[in-house]
C-alpha cells in the first residue's frame, strides 16, 4: 500500500490552495497547520526511533488486537522535545498573531524542565487529552504559564507527534498493518476520526491523527461498534460534492468523515481535508450523530 505520510510541503501547499480557492476563511487556520507541520517534518530525521520488537512479536500484538503503545514505552528525548515545542509555539504565533504572547515562553517554563517533563510525558502515555488537561490544571501549569490548559495540551501533542510518527515508520518497515482491523491505531491506540476510500481500489483507509499510521478497515462495518448490518449503515454528502462523505451508523449513532478518492480521482491528505470539511461535522451533529468515543476531538 502507498503511504501518504510524511507528505512533501509542496503537496501540502497545493492541496491547501485548492481549498482556499473555495473558502478563504480557512486561510489562517491553514497557516497555523502548515507552520506546525513544517516544524514536524523538519525534525523527523533528528528523531532516533528504534523498535526492539521483532516482526513476529509485532504480528502477535496485532493478532491479539493490542496496539503497541499499550505496554511499550516510547523513548522521548526531552531536550529535543522542548526544542520542537518551542519551534511549534513560534510557528503558531507567527501564523496567528492573535495567539497569546505567553505561548512564546512556554518552552522555557520551569514546569517543562528536565525533571518535570518526564512526569508529564508519562501522563501523556495515557493518550488522553482530558487527563492531560486535568494534570495541567492540577499542577497549575496553565496559571503559571498564563496559557489555557487546552492550548498547552495541544502544543504538547503536536510536539510529540513527530516522535510517534518516527516510531510508527520503524514499525511499518518491519510489518505492515494489513492484519489490523480496529477503529484505533495499531501503534499509538488513538481512535481514527477520518477515513478515505483509497483511489486504487476503493478500500477504506483509516488514519491516525497522532502518528499518521494508515490501515484498512472494512467498508461494510462500523469501526466504532462493529455493526455490519447493511441496513443500519449509510452515508450522506452535500449535494454536488459526493466525494466528501459522512458515514453514519444507526446502531451507535457515531459518524466517520470519509473522503472518496475514487470519486475524486486522486488521493488527498486527510489532515487537510479534516480541516476543510468542518461543515460536515456540523451537519453530522445536526443529523443527530456523534463523533467516536475516546477520540481526541472534544470541543
Amino acid at each position: 500500500m502507498e503511504y501518504y505520510y510524511p507528505p512533501s510541503m509542496d503537496r501540502v501547499t497545493k492541496e491547501v490552495e485548492f481549498h482556499l480557492e473555495k473558502n478563504k476563511n480557512l486561510a489562517q487556520i491553514f497557516e497555523v497547520y502548515k507552520g506546525i507541520l513544517a516544524v514536524q517534518l523538519d525534525c523527523l530525521d533528528k528523531i532516533k526511533a528504534s523498535v526492539i520488537l521483532s516482526e513476529k512479536e509485532l504480528k502477535e500484538y496485532f493478532r491479539n488486537k493490542k496496539f503497541l503503545m499499550s505496554d511499550q514505552k516510547l523513548e522521548i528525548e526531552s531536550k529535543l522535545f522542548r526544542e520542537i515545542l518551542g519551534s511549534i509555539c513560534k510557528a503558531i504565533k507567527k501564523a496567528s498573531p492573535e495567539a497569546p504572547e505567553s505561548l512564546l515562553k512556554l518552552s522555557e517554563a520551569e514546569e517543562l524542565d528536565e525533571e518535570n517533563i518526564q512526569e508529564l510525558l508519562q501522563k501523556i502515555a495515557l493518550y488522553n487529552k482530558q487527563e492531560l488537561e486535568y494534570f495541567i490544571e492540577e499542577k497549575e501549569i496553565d496559571k503559571k504559564t498564563e496559557l489555557n490548559s487546552e492550548i498547552i495540551a495541544f502544543v504538547i501533542f503536536m510536539s510529540l507527534s513527530p516522535f510517534y510518527s518516527a516510531n510508527m515508520k520503524e514499525v511499518r518497515e518491519k510489518v505492515d498493518f494489513s492484519s489490523w482491523r480496529q477503529s484505533y491505531c495499531p501503534v499509538c491506540g488513538q481512535t481514527a476520526v477520518i477515513a478515505k476510500h483509497r483511489s486504487e481500489d476503493g478500500a477504506r483507509v483509516l488514519e491516525c491523527w497522532l502518528c499518521h499510521a494508515e490501515w484498512v478497515y472494512p467498508r461494510m462495518e462500523c469501526p466504532y461498534c462493529n455493526n455490519s448490518d447493511q441496513k443500519k449503515l449509510r452515508f450522506f454528502y452535500v449535494t454536488g460534492d459526493k466525494a466528501r462523505q459522512v458515514h453514519v451508523c444507526e446502531k451507535c449513532k457515531r459518524y466517520l468523515k470519509t473522503i472518496d478518492s475514487k470519486i475524486m480521482e486522486k488521493d488527498v491528505l486527510l489532515d487537510i481535508e479534516a480541516i476543510a470539511t468542518s461543515y460536515l461535522d456540523e451537519l453530522a451533529k445536526r443529523e443527530g450523530y456523534k463523533p467516536p468515543k475516546g477520540a481526541v476531538v472534544l470541543n
Binding site: 498573531p97 452515508f235 456540523e282
Partner: protein, 204 residues
C-alpha cells in the same frame, strides 16, 4: 444555525479543536463551508445514500460488487474493495453492470434501461404481436395450461407396473443466472409435477 466561531468544532487531523482555534486566534472569521464562501449550514442540502454488497452476475469468479442506492434507486456500482477475490477490481462487463439497470437519455439523465421487461406479455396462437397482461391472469392461465398438459400426459406406472409418477410432456429449463434458492424451488416444483425434462445451461 450559522456556523459561529464558537461552534466551529474540532479539526481532527491537527487536533485543533473549535474552542482551541478561537484561543489561538485562528478560527474562521466567517461561517465556513464550501464552495464559494459563507453559507448557512442549514441551507446545505444533503443526500443520503446506502451501500449493499452483491456478487457479480456474469462469470464464475464471483467478484464482489458494491451497489449504491439513493432514494431506493441504484445510482452506481463498483468493485468491492473488501472482497478477497477481486479486491475492488472489475472487468469490462462487471464495470458496466449499472448500464443493465439504467441508460442515459438525450439530456444525460439516467433512466431505466428501456430494453428491460417490465410487463407480463402474452402471445396468442398465430398472433403477430405481444399483448400486455397482468400477473393474476398470467399465473392462473399458466396454471391451467400446466394442469391440462399434466392431467393428459401423466403416467403413474410404466409398462412393467413400476410406479413412475412422471409427466414427460412438460419440460423446465432453469438457469445458471438464477440464485440457488430459485433453482432449488424450480427443481422442487418440477419434481412435484413429475417433470423429468429438467436441465439448465450448465450442460451447454
Amino acid at each position: 444555525m450559522k456556523i459561529s466561531r464558537r461552534s466551529f468544532l474540532w479539526i481532527s487531523g491537527a487536533a485543533i479543536t473549535g474552542s482551541l482555534a478561537l484561543k489561538l486566534g485562528c478560527a474562521p472569521k466567517q461561517p465556513t463551508t464550501e464552495p464559494g464562501g459563507p453559507v448557512d449550514v442549514e441551507d446545505l442540502r444533503i443526500q443520503y445514500a446506502e451501500t449493499t454488497t452483491a456478487i457479480c452476475p456474469i462469470c464464475g469468479v464471483g467478484c464482489g460488487i458494491l451497489v449504491y442506492t439513493e432514494n431506493g434507486k441504484i445510482v452506481a456500482t463498483e468493485g468491492d474493495p473488501d472482497h478477497p477475490i477481486n479486491e475492488g477490481a472489475l472487468c469490462s462487463k462487471g464495470s458496466a453492470l449499472f448500464n443493465m439497470y439504467y441508460t442515459y437519455n438525450e439530456k444525460g439523465e439516467a433512466v431505466p434501461n428501456p430494453q428491460r421487461m417490465t410487463k407480463v406479455l402474452y402471445r396468442a396462437p398465430k398472433s403477430k404481436d405481444w399483448e400486455v397482461k397482468d400477473w393474476d391472469w398470467a399465473l392462473t392461465t399458466i396454471a391451467e395450461r400446466v394442469k391440462k398438459t399434466r392431467d393428459e400426459y401423466f403416467q403413474e406406472k410404466n409398462k412393467d407396473g413400476v410406479t413412475v409418477n412422471r409427466c414427460t410432456a412438460l419440460a423446465w429449463l432453469g438457469s445458471a443466472m438464477c440464485n440457488n434458492e430459485e433453482n432449488y424451488l424450480f427443481q422442487k416444483f418440477c419434481r412435484s409435477l413429475g417433470i423429468t425434462n429438467v436441465d439448465h445451461c450448465a450442460r451447454l
